[in-house]
Symmetry: C2
Subunit: 348 residues, 2 copies
């Protein structure tokens, strides 16, 4: 079959409709002809199913590929992803987010497409705002979002992205007492308060048998709840505002970290440091005792609304979370609320 490159489409005659469209769902109908996207055309050219001319000139694969890559941003990325999905027997069609993917065994016209797929280079910084935008599109169309990240050697990693909420069963009330801020932690000396905080609220870590160390977020949270009064080493009381300001100097992302911590706590989750996993928190739905913590299902990392993901870092975070059987959750502050997105590797 012969196609002609016109603008950024390859147009084929009526014969192609039966052979490519009706049986294999390539292209779209337009005024009795079949229009292929550049990616579809490159794939069919490679498969030897079509030939392509530009004006009078026939194009070989290299010539077409090079022209297509000047016509379309990220053409070669989209080609790599399209080829991979088609090569595994999926039906794929162009969509607002690059591709619409049909479930295995499903067909356009018969089955609903399940996924919106977005092809992204590992080098492309990915703003949270874009992810939220894709999620919104997907939600409106009742689909899921898959990010197909192409690394520098053109290997593809698929991530599915969804909104989620964090709910647990641990509520803490009560206790009252003092602590001392020493550099980047607060020490609680009063053993009655230590007991309540540690055993009922699962806060902090014992300095020894009688004294408790609280992290900066834990301390700020307990100060705001009016459980804890904090002084400095010379005995002067520090108010919440000053404390938060000082903590933000120690830890640049303290502001949104605290907001996410508060939200987790208010929703009944127990959050402990996720340092060993390179994330802000590991989060527990239910804790009975800090001495025998059950497995935490989540790592939660707090990000700002204008966060831009670097994909190698995202890849590392998710890979690590999954290696310890946890979900990687990003908590972002949006006005007075906190939203959560869950990003995990998936196999097609």
């Amino acid at each position: 079959m012969h196609g002609e490159l016109i603008g950024d489409r390859v147009v084929l005659g009526e014969d192609a409709i039966t052979k490519l469209y009706s049986t294999s769902y390539y292209g779209r109908l337009k005024e009795g002809k079949l229009e292929l996207s550049l990616v579809e055309a490159a794939y069919l050219l490679k498969e030897g199913k079509i030939s392509i001319v530009h004006g009078e000139k026939p194009l070989d694969f290299k010539e077409f590929f090079v022209i297509a890559s000047t016509l379309m941003k990220n053409f070669e990325l989209k080609y790599i992803v399209y080829k991979d999905m088609r090569g595994r027997g999926y039906y794929v069609q162009p969509s607002v987010t690059d591709f619409r993917l049909y479930p295995r065994g499903g067909k356009p016209g018969k089955t609903r497409a399940m996924y919106f797929v977005r092809a992204i280079s590992e080098r492309e910084p990915l703003p949270l705002a874009n992810i939220l935008h894709y999620l919104e599109i997907a939600e409106n169309m009742r689909k899921h979002i898959i990010l197909a990240i192409v690394d520098e050697e053109s290997d593809i990693t698929f991530y599915d992205v969804k909104k989620t909420s964090m709910k647990g069963e641990t509520k803490f009330t009560g206790g009252k007492g003092d602590g001392t801020l020493l550099e980047d932690r607060v020490i609680v000396w009063d053993s009655a308060l230590v007991k309540v905080l540690h055993q009922k609220g699962f806060f902090g870590k014992p300095l020894d048998e009688e004294r408790l160390q609280l992290s900066l977020v834990e301390s700020a949270y307990l100060m705001k709840k009016k459980v804890l009064k904090v002084t400095d080493a010379t005995g002067n009381v520090i108010d919440v505002k000053t404390f938060t300001k000082r903590a933000s100097e120690i830890e640049a992302d303290f502001g949104h970290k605290l907001r996410v911590y508060e939200n987790l706590r208010e929703n009944g989750m127990v959050a402990k440091t996720g340092f060993k996993f390179g994330s802000h928190f590991r989060a527990y739905e239910k804790v009975e005792s800090l001495d025998r913590l059950i497995h935490s299902k989540y790592l939660v990392h707090a990000i700002s609304k204008d966060h831009v993901f670097l994909l190698p870092e995202l890849s590392r975070a998710i890979r690590l979370a999954q290696s310890v059987r946890k979900r990687m959750i990003f908590g972002y502050v949006t006005g007075k609320n906190v939203g959560y997105i869950d990003i995990g590797r998936t196999k097609l």
Copy 2:
């Protein structure tokens, strides 16, 4: 036993020498008296082995702890680490890098100390220069370096750090041909060159049966070796300098990434992308075929000489490497050479 806080030392009388120094190796002798560091004194105070006065005033644990933390930067960190090591039965003495640790069963005066331990807060940015400085001290004294990183909940993770070299058995010579730079990868169209590059040199990834995609570092390396000539989409030849400049615009750390890649290759290692692990490269000592790659032992991340480690990221990188049974190696460019350091979690 009674001690007196004088400056940043706690001084005890002659009786303490037998009871604390001779049997348990606390403190140092000074003019017939025993001098304890603040950390040693806090530990012995908590254990109820000594009491401390400041002038005439007796100090309880809280009072001493608060004063000590104003006298010494990071006092509470050092206390946490010291207490942990002593609590597990190790002999520990102050040293230039915080502590000198004796091997299990070893004793000061009888055994050589094995490790220099440095206590660091997870929040403290750690310049590569500092690590290299510790390594130099350790090398001169024939000791190893351990970083004791204290997270916000005062949990300690121990890392051992050593210099290493990267040597493999894969040498590549030969081949000559063209490629086209399309955005962030180079495509090689000539199937003879494709075969040599892919099967003999283990470069690139097939775009399809006949064509090969090379990453930017692979391409720059092969251009410098005069194996590859690269043109842009319009057919103009790109020289190495222009290519490197363009690649550095796409990838900010391209410069040192390329230097480390070249060094690995020149030392017979095969380096492939480490994107899935959040690092620049996975590195193989020996490759027989890219279709059945054996397990790679190393992840290598290229950093600049003035790199500053953020410890949560370092923690994540090492944890991930170890979860896939690889060593985490950092390659840094130093003048004309490339140095490698190997950082791994260790248990005391």
